[in-house]
């Protein structure tokens, strides 16, 4: 019942509700864009989830099936395995190209954006956007 009294007890400071670590109004929206690889992980998950989902009725006794049923499931898993190997070969899961930026790198990158001059142009050209996986 004290809640109606809260505005009287303590004044509301706007800075308290600001985003973490900000002494000023945050620039832009934090949800503008993100690395495509997160989306790619979701796609991979969608491929393998039906694999798992279809395997459960096959493994449980009320649906215990004869060798024909087992080999059918083998064929199904084989198709998915071929797809996985193809995706592996194509490099869909390859994420070694970029290291994870540390906080210092993020701060440095934020500073660099303020100026047109880039002293480490060879490095920054390879990391052209802020968010990395």
């Amino acid at each position: 019942f004290l809640f109606p009294l809260l505005p009287i007890i303590g004044p509301i400071y706007p800075k308290k509700l600001s985003a973490y670590g900000c002494g000023f109004d945050p620039l832009g929206d934090a949800r503008s864009c993100f690395d495509i690889r997160f989306y790619l992980v979701s796609i991979l998950f969608i491929i393998h989830d039906p694999e798992v989902t279809f395997s459960f009725p096959w493994a449980v006794p009320p649906n215990k099936i004869d060798p024909f049923g087992s080999w059918s499931m083998m064929a199904f898993l084989l198709i998915l395995t071929i797809g996985s190997l193809y995706e592996w070969k194509r490099g869909g899961g390859r994420t070694k190209e970029r290291a994870i930026p540390t906080l210092n790198q993020l701060i440095r990158h934020g500073r660099e954006e303020k100026t047109t001059h880039r002293p480490y142009s060879s490095f920054w050209d390879k990391n052209d956007y802020l968010f990395k996986i």
């Binding site: 945050p26 934090a30 979701s42 906080l103």
Partner: protein, 363 residues
């Protein structure tokens, strides 16, 4: 006149009986649920204390020692403090997503406890799809994390939420395939049946010996699901402050804190149930049944022994998880995803095919 009075009295009496019967039935439905939740809460307090004591031991310093004997009430004091902290909401965040996220994480994890057999047939609800229920529910918790990260409108939180979702769905596939292998061996998805299947040959009947690769993959995957070091990228204190938890304070942060330990506890329970025989008390080369001939007459004694054995095994894995946290460095996100998709997934799939082959030959 006398007959009428008698009939009226009888009607009142039976009406009262029916009312009591209903009340009694309702009480009996809620009592085990409340007891289970109380037990879980006490376990979380114990785990928090364990983590601090074990980390203190590993780092050669003193853990909590002032609140209560040996500092066991420290977690309770911390929880009370969180209750009294101000509940801040970021001004530019999405209030609904921000508020609902922690609740989804906690609720989805607590529901999973209903299928854990703590003793012989001592389970809240023996569903014939108990393990499947746990897998389905563990898919829901990352949604809460993603909602929290998105609703905070903070770059650190957003990236933490994305990492949490990517990590969780990456390691869910190997985890599920391992569980599938266990179901193949046990011919059931019921946790009670899985425990029973492991008690046929005593100690050597545990699925640990029949699924060694599955056990290792399951351990690693469950550690990643719980976001424990070396898999704590969604929090990653040196990079993301606290990940999706950055903007949280007070009881909402407390919910996230509790959710992580609840998740750890239930993962340890499932390792015990799926691979270590659950409440099976067999010790190699010792015929325990001879020592406990009393078992057959005292049911409560058997139940207590079962609970004790289950929790003892579970705390072994809790110790492993806690010790792992304070001894290993964090992985990079590319190493994390490579481990999940390129190593654990093929290994668990191969393990499943191997199990299938052995089952076919045994048929």
């Amino acid at each position: 006149m006398i007959i009428y009075l008698t009939e009226i009295q009888d009607i009142h009496f039976f009406f009262r009986l029916e009312s009591f019967k209903e009340i009694y039935g309702i009480i009996w439905v809620f009592a085990p649920i409340l007891i289970l939740i109380l037990g879980i809460t006490i376990s979380v307090l114990a785990i928090v204390w364990l983590e601090r004591e074990i980390s203190a031991g590993i780092q050669q310093r003193i853990g909590p020692e002032y609140t209560g004997p040996f500092g066991v009430l420290q977690a309770l004091a911390d929880g009370t403090k969180l209750l009294f902290k101000e509940n801040l909401i970021p001004s530019r965040g999405d209030i609904r997503l921000f508020s609902i996220g922690p609740s989804i994480s906690v609720i989805s994890i607590i529901i999973s406890y209903s299928v854990i057999p703590f003793g012989y047939n001592f389970v809240l609800s023996d569903l014939n799809i108990g393990v499947f229920l746990w897998i389905a529910i563990s898919s829901i918790a990352p949604i809460g994390l993603l909602m929290s990260g998105y609703g905070s409108n903070n770059k650190y939180s957003f990236l933490g939420g994305l990492r949490a979702a990517a990590q969780s769905i990456s390691y869910e596939i190997p985890l599920t395939l391992c569980v599938l292998s266990i179901s193949l061996l046990s011919n059931s998805l019921s946790t009670v049946d899985i425990v029973d299947a492991q008690s046929k040959y005593g100690f050597w009947g545990w699925n640990l010996w029949r699924q060694p690769m599955g056990f290792i993959v399951f351990l690693i995957s469950s550690l990643a699901e719980c976001e424990r070091l070396p898999f704590d990228l969604p929090e990653a204190e040196e990079e993301l402050v606290a990940g999706y938890q950055t903007e949280y304070s007070g009881i909402k942060f407390g919910l996230f804190y509790v959710a992580s330990y609840l998740n750890l506890f239930i993962s340890s329970l499932f390792v015990t149930v799926l691979y270590f025989g659950g409440s099976n008390i067999s010790i190699p080369y010792i015929f325990v049944s001879d020592f406990f001939e009393i078992n057959q007459t005292y049911g409560v004694f058997v139940t207590i022994i079962g609970i004790f054995i289950t929790l003892a095994k579970t705390y072994l894995f809790l110790f492993l998880s806690i010790a792992t946290r304070w001894t290993l460095p964090r992985l990079r996100i590319d190493q994390l995803l490579n481990l999940g998709w390129k190593f654990l997934l093929p290994i668990s799939l191969g393990n499943l095919l191997l199990t299938t082959s052995s089952q076919l030959f045994s048929l």
